[in-house]
């Protein structure tokens, strides 16, 4: 029978009906009546419990993983993302998209781990245990951690320090409507926050991952003079927020998604890693804490040298296209059965405006066959290895192509 994959999308306002429609479409597109696994992304405005009921009223008890998103990406392009104007945030339309899998060769095991804010490392340890409990060796671990609470460095450490054989990570942080309010993670018929929803892919499959960004370091190099875990307290002996504020409009009082999406922190990569990637790895300031510290989704320890970076739309498009071409050329004549795509929420309309599809998505999708099932979302942080080392990223596009 091989592997059957299908994608369905719905823009219905009613969550249950949206779930039903997306699931029916996906099964229909896959040419199957039942499936082994469901991957679901949906804008944050839905009542996700009802959405899951709608989906599972069609797919039954098939394992389900996924998360809330700023917008979803399918082979027809992006949808559901919002954007900022002078008058504030413009909400995107409600959208749910899901991918169904039915395969005798590829297996999908899903897990969930909680309390990221409190202890992301512990959550990582939980995940490692679950990986160990599986009979098959993992090919890839796809994760959807809460984009507002995760310490990716701790999470990764929690996993990697507890598994015997290295495993590559991919995925994206659960996001929402650019409000920095709350994100959701899906596990079967349950909806969580502050958790990480995971999928362990195993079996007979080849998986290629790739990642790219388009940021350019600007200005002089700065030093993180004080940091705790993934919280930067001071830069150049100045409170982190005060430091950032000097680059922001005078009336800026908080680190909005718009502002956070404009500036980033660039950490220089070691030369051996930079060869196939870029000189810097990009981190985004996620939240401004009340004490003036800045929350970052990965740890930047005290003493780290950083540079401010700015998004360069042309570079983003160019690097995204190169990444797609590179990953497409790797497997030779093999035909992908599915593509998972995790793109930064700041790379959609926030970056490209009305050209987000053409410049942000089409440049990648045009490299592939139009009929390949494609599912992704706009994330609050992307996960993908550089070389064989797992990294957390911001302002990137992370692809995971399953053959």
């Amino acid at each position: 029978m091989g592997t059957k994959v299908g994608v369905g999308e719905s823009k219905q306002a009613d969550p249950f009906m949206a779930g039903v429609e997306a699931a029916r479409t996906a099964l229909s597109n896959a040419g199957i009546n039942t499936c082994d696994f469901v991957l679901l992304f949906a804008t944050a405005d839905y009542d996700h419990n009802k959405l899951l009921k709608g989906v599972r009223s069609v797919t039954g008890e098939a394992p389900l993983s996924g998360c809330s998103a700023s917008g979803v990406i399918t082979q027809t392009g992006p949808s559901g993302e919002g954007y900022y104007t002078e008058s504030g945030l413009v909400k995107g339309e409600s959208t749910a998209a899901l991918m169904v899998f039915s395969s005798e060769k590829i297996r999908f095991q899903n897990f969930i781990a909680h309390d990221l804010k409190e202890n992301s490392k512990k959550a990582g340890g939980e995940i490692a245990k679950k990986i160990h409990s599986q009979p098959d060796p993992p090919l890839l671990l796809v994760m959807f951690p809460d984009g507002l609470t995760v310490n990716s460095s701790a999470l990764f450490s929690g996993i990697e320090s507890n598994i015997k054989e290295p495993v590559l990570f991919s995925g994206g942080c659960a996001s929402e409507s650019l409000n920095a309010f709350k994100t959701y993670q899906f596990y079967n018929d349950q909806v969580f926050s502050d958790s990480v929803s995971c999928i362990m892919i195993s079996g007979e499959a080849a998986i290629e991952t790739a990642i790219s960004h388009g940021c350019t370091p600007i200005g002089t190099e700065k030093t993180v003079t004080r940091a705790e875990a993934n919280r930067i307290i001071e830069i150049n002996n100045e409170s982190a927020w005060a430091f950032f504020k000097t680059y922001l409009p005078e009336n800026a009082t908080d680190l909005t998604a718009e502002l956070a999406g404009t500036l980033c922190l660039c950490e220089r990569l070691p030369k051996q890693l930079a060869t196939n990637y870029d000189t810097h790895i990009v981190r985004a300031p996620a939240l401004k804490n009340p004490d003036g510290s800045i929350q970052v989704l990965a740890e930047i320890p005290t003493g780290s040298n950083i540079q401010l970076g700015r998004r360069d739309p042309d570079k983003i498009s160019l690097n995204a296209k190169k990444m797609a071409e590179r990953i497409r050329s790797n497997p030779g004549d093999r035909k992908p059965v599915a593509v998972l795509h995790f793109d930064c929420a700041a790379r959609g309309k926030l970056c490209f405006g009305s050209e987000a599809k053409e410049k942000g998505i089409d440049v990648i999708q045009d490299v592939f066959d139009k009929n390949i099932p494609w599912l992704g979302f706009y994330a609050y942080g992307e996960i993908g290895p550089i070389g064989r080392k797992n990294f957390f990223h911001n302002f990137t596009a992370s692809l995971c192509v399953i053959y």
Partner: protein
């Protein structure tokens, strides 16, 4: 510049550069927002444009649908859709016009509104249109009769609305013409029908009452019922049936109405209607229920059956009387028969005794017995006749009667008696009376015998006169009226007795039966027989001077073909000689054929004999005779059928055929007889009649 200064300068440059970076970053942020605003505006415009395009598309689709709908309606409509300009000339006309008027829409376009109106209507229609158009009013339900191409007329119902352009200028009218010819004709028929039924209602001899089925309230009353009741229609307005109609039983009307409501059809012949003048009239009431419009109504027909009831009563009484009379007659008939049997023995043996008794006294006594027995027999015969008449057993059967023979026969009955009494018997007969008339000979002779017998009885001197007078001929001389009178110079009848003498068992007062004898039934029987013949009998009399009884018979049929009856005059068969001719004699009796050939032997005639109809047909076809003498009653093919065959074939159609028979043709045979035969002779054939008949068809000469 020392190193320190250099470093300070570089720091200052970096600081300046960093400030520029900050400025650039802020500017970029602002630009991004501006860009986002532009995007939003563009998206709004695009959305608006898309909405507009969508609306245009939807509107275009709607317009297209609307146009299609209009076209479908126009195409499928049974009506003719039109548009005229401000001058009333057609600028649009749907194709349907061709189905209605026979003209194509192209022929109509450009023509004025009143085009095809009836010639005498065109001006009026135009004026009407102009008047409506001047006020810009809609055209509503305008009906016009229009001439179609084939010359027939159709009625159009026109509706239209004024048309204005965007500036409000009047541009004409647009509307629909509906062919309502069928409806109009139906309406006319309904009107005519309503009028017809209204007339029937108004003129009906029966009284008619129309009621509301539910309430019994009077909707209408026709003049007949109004007259019958003696109330006016206005007086019935708003009233209920039982407030106007009363029967002999006070509570009857309301219960009758309830019965009519329940059964819907009621027929009652036993109602007695009370009029305003408190007269009671027997009526028959028939009620029916039907629906008029949405209302159920009840129709009550009142028929005055007073006369019928009276007639029924009379008929009942008459039938009862007739039954009683018939019972009486049957009794008499029976009794007479019982009496005749012993009387036959009395007369028979008395007759024998008269010839065997030698003693004069005894012979005289036997003669008395014989005479009285004969008188008794006559009485009984009369009683039998009367009883037969009254029992309806005696019928009149007209047949050709030789009037001369009839008179002669009657005269012979009385000739001796008249001579004995020294009276004269005079016969006065109108010479124009045909020799043969269709009469019942037996009954006619009985009438004359009765009347002449009476005259003879009551006349001691003077005369008795029989007068036969033709009153008139009519129906192309096929019928005549005949008057027969018997006049005497006898004792006469007093005026007060003249009306009674025709009643049974009533004789003239003071009539001495010992002197005159009789049963008193003669005239009664005579009168009844005359009436059975469709005639009348009357009497005029002057006591001491005599009486005249006159019979008037009408519509006596006169046979068309000449039927010559026996004449007593001696005829010499040598006195007429026929020229050479072929005669076919057809008779199953050889002696009869022989007799005819013997009497005609003095003429050079060739005879062909045939003993039945079939042989007669063959001989006629073969020899083509100049004359055929045909017996009627023969075995196998009889005379009628043979004659019919001969008449149907060209070769024999014109051969004269004279029928010869021992019996006269019956009434029902008369018509066919006349078309088949040229003449008729009764057997035994009178020679003179035979020769006279043959003279008509054969050339001949008289000798001596």
């Amino acid at each position: 510049m020392d190193n320190k200064t250099e470093i300070e300068k570089l720091r200052a440059d970096c600081q300046a550069l960093e400030e520029q970076v900050k400025l650039l970053v802020r500017t970029e942020l602002k630009l991004r927002r501006t860009q986002a605003e532009l995007i939003q505006s563009r998206e709004i415009i695009e959305e608006y444009s898309m909405t507009l395009e969508q609306k245009v598309e939807e509107r275009t689709k709607e317009l297209s649908m609307s146009e299609k709908r209009f076209k479908d309606i126009v195409f499928n409509s049974a009506d003719w859709i039109w548009e005229v300009n401000e001058n009333g000339r057609f600028i649009y006309c749907s194709e349907k016009v061709e189905d209605i008027l026979g003209y194509t829409n192209k022929e109509i376009i450009g023509k004025p509104f009143y085009y095809l109106s009836l010639p005498n209507e065109a001006q009026r229609i135009n004026q009407k249109f102009l008047k409506i158009a001047s006020k810009r009013k809609p055209i509503k339900d305008m009906e016009n009769w229009i001439l179609t191409r084939n010359g027939s007329q159709v009625c159009l119902l026109t509706d239209g609305v004024p048309v204005f352009d965007d500036s409000g200028n009047f541009k004409g009218y647009r509307g629909i013409n509906k062919d309502i010819t069928y409806r109009k004709k139906a309406e006319e028929l309904i009107k005519a029908s309503e009028l017809q039924y209204r007339r029937l209602f108004e003129s009906a001899k029966d009284g008619i009452l129309i009621l509301d089925f539910n309430t019994g309230r009077i909707n209408d009353i026709n003049p007949s019922l109004s007259n019958l009741l003696g109330i006016t229609k206005e007086e019935t307005a708003g009233k209920k049936m039982w407030e106007v109609i009363f029967f002999d039983e006070p509570a009857e009307t309301k219960s009758l109405f309830k019965e009519m409501q329940k059964k819907e059809y009621v027929q009652n012949e036993n109602l007695c209607l009370k009029t305003r003048e408190e007269h009671y009239i027997d009526i028959e009431l028939v009620s029916n229920v039907y629906t008029a419009g949405r209302k159920k109504v009840m129709q009550c027909n009142f028929r005055d059956i007073s006369e019928r009831k009276h007639a029924e009563k009379m008929r009942f009484e008459k039938e009862a009387a007739e039954t009683a009379n018939r019972t009486k007659s049957e009794f008499l008939s029976h009794m007479s028969h019982e009496i005749r049997s012993p009387l036959n023995a009395i007369i028979g043996f008395s007759d024998l005794l008269v010839h065997s008794v030698e003693d004069e006294d005894q012979r005289s006594q036997v003669n008395i017995i014989l005479n009285n027995a004969n008188n008794l027999l006559n009485i009984i015969n009369d009683i039998l006749d009367l009883s037969k008449i009254e029992a309806g057993e005696l019928g009149i059967e007209p047949a050709p009667v030789n009037i001369n023979n009839l008179v002669k026969n009657v005269e012979n009955v009385f000739i001796n008696k008249i001579k004995e009494k020294g009276l004269s018997f005079i016969v006065e007969k109108d010479s124009n009376i045909p020799a043969i008339l269709m009469l019942d000979e037996v009954r006619m002779q009985q009438i004359l015998v009765n009347l002449i017998g009476n005259a003879c009885k009551f006349t001691t001197k003077g005369y008795i006169k029989l007068i036969l007078d033709k009153v008139s001929m009519h129906d192309g001389n096929d019928k005549m009226d005949l008057s027969v009178s018997v006049e005497d110079s006898g004792i006469g009848i007093p005026p007060e007795q003249q009306a009674l003498i025709f009643e049974a068992f009533r004789q003239q007062l003071g009539q001495n039966t010992k002197i005159y004898g009789g049963t008193g039934l003669g005239l009664t029987i005579t009168k009844k027989l005359v009436e059975m013949m469709g005639g009348t009998i009357s009497v005029t009399s002057t006591p001491g001077h005599g009486s005249t009884f006159t019979i008037e018979l009408s519509d006596i049929q006169v046979p068309r073909q000449e039927i010559i009856s026996a004449d007593e005059t001696v005829f010499n068969p040598r006195s007429i000689l026929f020229d050479k001719a072929k005669i076919l004699i057809c008779d199953d009796n050889q002696t009869a054929r022989r007799l005819i050939m013997d009497v005609l032997k003095y003429s050079p005639l060739d005879f062909i004999e045939a003993e039945n109809g079939e042989k007669a047909i063959n001989a006629a076809m073969q020899y083509r005779p100049d004359l055929i003498l045909m017996d009627l009653i023969m075995p196998e093919i009889n005379g009628y059928d043979a004659a019919r065959f001969l008449r149907e074939h060209d070769h024999t159609r014109n051969i004269p055929v004279i029928a010869i028979s021992a019996s006269y043709p019956k009434n029902e045979e008369q018509k066919s007889f006349q078309s088949l035969f040229n003449g008729f002779l009764i057997k035994p054939v009178n020679l003179k009649d035979l020769f006279e008949m043959m003279k008509k068809y054969l050339s001949h000469k008289a000798v001596g």
